[in-house]
């Protein structure tokens, strides 16, 4: 009966080596596996994008045949959305940092968390193996009927794609249950609602959206599988709208599922690198939740040329425009945080500024297309392609890289090379805009999306050539990131808190021990580490 209690008992069950990863229920290891998986799919889907751009570089090129082209853009979109952006943000950063930021030792249900990961990986492998062995879907990531019905997609590739997405839905729904319970129940003492970090607020809102939206898509996918294989009669020729409704009921919220965590990330990074508190924290929290709620009321704006009742269309035009208001609130809050701050122009902040600059263009072109007359003009044109790459790449992917540079030192214990990081940022910023800005003009000039090639003389040659050049600059910038990540092995040691952060993850070691914290911290404001620094006498 020793009277001295050892503060950190070593975890006997913690295993190392391969088994330690396969059998882990630790949220940090699961998070790292999500990140590794997602980044691999990012590379794969990025290479597909390069093939797509090569094909379109000049008129009447035949780099790949039209069928392969259809399969390529289908898998590019599906993988980027379902296998990269969502699992990276929610599964990767969400898993790794939500428990750390709320001062918990793990998520609420660690085993369920591991299950979510393995089913997600399984789904990804199902889709990837199908793709590699030629069982490929070619009905685009939207899988609109009738393209996706047995008559138009007779091969098993479509079924494999559907099964993959169903499995992914199960994984992310269970993950959402886990996040919601974790954020509700596992917060450190003192962490009242207004002291929850912005990233955690964003993740909780995202989890709520996943929970409500995904099951509807799952229902639609199962119905389509049954239509294709068991002769049911759901999506017959006169009911193509039903698929569109059920698909966009999930997939429009999915847009916010992909952007809200990225917004949460930059809401964490900008205050740290401006040496100021986040301007209007409560306004940012409230607008996050409002975006989450309004996200469920806008899906018909994808269907303005589908023959929906005009009165209903006008309602959805209104809600689509309204959702720009909370988004604008956040935009101004970020700018006001930067305003007058002593800015520390490290790579994470550059990535955030990249986010602000590009996302606002995507946001504005989104409001433009929310107007029914404009949408009817640019629908299914390259203008749409430009728009959603500005929000999903310019928003989510810049957010993801911001997070990798910001939190990478916490995950690995090593600092990234700043010079390579800055080179990566500038090449990515330039390459991104060269790739996607010309697509606005291509769309307005009438170039439809998803075409495998085009005839000369329509005025599309120059824009496409520029876009292709930009795509390779973009790819090169990602290569620089990979080199930087490999060099991380020899990077400077990061220490616990290299950025003088505000949130609890910086109070523990880098990388954090399996139990996260020596002692569960007590929180007294929305910037617990700032408080701690102020208390410590400076020498």
């Amino acid at each position: 009966m020793a009277s001295i209690s050892i503060p950190i008992p070593l975890r006997e069950r913690a295993k190392s080596g391969v088994l330690g990863w396969l059998a882990t229920v630790d949220h940090k290891k699961i998070g790292i596996m999500y990140m590794a998986m997602s980044f691999s799919f990012f590379i794969a889907a990025g290479l597909m994008a390069l093939l797509i751009r090569l094909q379109l570089a000049a008129p009447n090129l035949q780099v790949v045949d039209p069928n392969t082209y259809n399969q390529l853009f289908t898998m590019h979109g599906s993988a980027m959305i379902f296998l990269f952006t969502i699992p990276m943000l929610v599964g990767g950063f969400g898993n790794y940092f939500v428990p750390l930021m709320i001062g918990a030792r793990d998520v609420a249900f660690p085993r369920l968390n591991a299950f979510s990961f393995w089913i997600t990986l399984g789904a990804g492998l199902v889709m990837l193996i199908g793709f590699v062995f030629g069982a490929r879907s070619d009905a685009a990531w939207t899988a609109y009927v009738p393209y996706s019905t047995k008559a138009f997609s007779p091969t098993i590739g479509m079924d494999i794609w559907l099964i993959g997405i169903i499995l992914l839905g199960i994984g992310s729904t269970l993950g959402a249950v886990n996040f919601l319970v974790t954020v509700y129940s596992m917060r450190a003492p003192g962490m009242t609602a207004w002291r929850i970090p912005m990233f955690v607020w964003a993740m909780a809102t995202t989890a709520g959206m996943v929970l409500l939206a995904t099951p509807v898509l799952t229902a639609a996918l199962i119905m389509l599988v049954a239509d294709r294989n068991f002769n049911t009669q759901f999506f017959t020729a006169n009911r193509v709208q039903l698929w569109q409704h059920m698909f966009w009921f999930y997939s429009h919220p999915a847009v916010y599922i992909m952007i809200l965590p990225a917004m949460g990330i930059i809401s964490e990074i900008i205050p740290v690198f401006s040496r100021k508190p986040l301007f209007g924290l409560r306004a940012v929290v409230i607008s996050t939740v409002i975006i989450g709620l309004l996200g469920f009321t806008t899906w018909v704006h994808h269907m303005f040329v589908s023959g929906v009742d005009p009165a209903i269309e006008r309602f959805f035009m209104f809600t689509t425009m309204v959702i720009a208001v909370p988004t604008g609130v956040k935009m101004f809050n970020w700018l006001a945080t930067l305003w007058g701050g002593s800015l520390n122009f490290k790579t994470p902040l550059l990535m955030c500024i990249g986010f602000l600059a590009t996302f606002v263009i995507g946001g504005i072109s989104g409001v433009m297309q929310g107007a029914i007359p404009i949408d009817q003009y640019v629908h299914n044109s390259y203008f749409v392609v430009a728009h959603f790459h500005y929000v999903l790449f310019g928003g989510s992917v810049f957010g993801i890289f911001a997070a990798l540079y910001y939190w990478g030192p916490k995950i690995t214990g090593r600092m990234f090379d700043e010079k390579l990081g800055k080179l990566h940022f500038w090449l990515m910023m330039i390459g991104f805009n060269i790739t996607f800005f010309p697509m606005h003009f291509l769309g307005l000039q009438g170039m439809p999306r998803r075409i495998a090639t085009y005839d000369p003389g329509r005025g599309w040659e120059l824009g496409n050539l520029i876009a292709t050049i930009g795509a390779f600059i973009l790819a090169f910038s990602v290569l620089i990131f990979i080199i930087n990540a490999i060099k991380l092995r020899h990077g400077e040691p990061a220490g616990d808190d290299p950025w003088e952060g505000n949130t609890l993850e910086w109070s523990t070691t880098s990388p954090p021990p399996e139990y996260n914290f020596l002692e569960i911290p007590t929180v007294e404001s929305d910037r617990p580490l700032f408080d701690a620094r102020m208390r410590t006498p400076q020498i």
């Binding site: 008992p9 070593l10 975890r11 006997e12 030792r105 609420a108 249900f109 369920l112 729904t173 269970l174 959402a176 249950v177 886990n178 919601l180 319970v181 509700y184 129940s185 596992m186 917060r187 450190a188 003492p189 003192g190 962490m191 009242t192 929970l211 409500l212 939206a213 995904t214 099951p215 509807v216 898509l217 799952t218 229902a219 639609a220 199962i222 119905m223 049954a226 068991f230 002769n231 049911t232 009669q233 759901f234 017959t236 006169n238 009911r239 709208q241 039903l242 409704h245 059920m246 009921f249 139990y515 002692e519 569960i520 007590t522």
Partner: protein
Amino acid sequence: MARATLRDRSMERARRSGDIAPARQKNIGLLGVGFFIVSESMFFLGLFLAWFFMRNTSDAWPPAGVAPPPVVPAVLNTVIALLSTIAVFFADRATARDDRNGLIKGIAVAGALGVIFMAVQAVEFTDLAILAQGSAYGSTFTFLLLFHVLRVFVGVILMGVVLVRTLLGHFSSKRRLLVQATAMYWYFITGVWLVVFAVLYLIG
């Protein structure tokens, strides 16, 4: 062991500081089941929306030449579902009082009623299999019944696990999460059945 120590310590601190209601950490499991049920509800909401969308875009519902399935087995099943829910309710209450016999009786009766429910549905499905392939009406009708009865199946399995673990002496008034979770899920399944019954058979 190590982990329990760490968790106990953090719980203790949480309680002392008073900022976190201890109740919030006590019901983590049930909260998870609750959120899961929300997602399950959305799945059925999707199917119901499909039903109403098709109903509103069809000239006749059910379409000409398609006979709606007989209502008698569905009425029978409604009674069975309600009775089993009462049995589950008493089983849950019995655990709270440490009444092991009450739990065994309640869960056995509810499970048996669940099996009867599935048997009645199985007879129905011999007709529905044909109906499903003929029309959108039949497809949606069959899907709603099929995915509901799948949940009944899961519920009956859960009751079987509860029964076995009760016989092994696993539950008490302090340790009854699985009993509560099973009860919650069964209430949800019954609730879905009532909506299915009302929409498919009464509104039509």
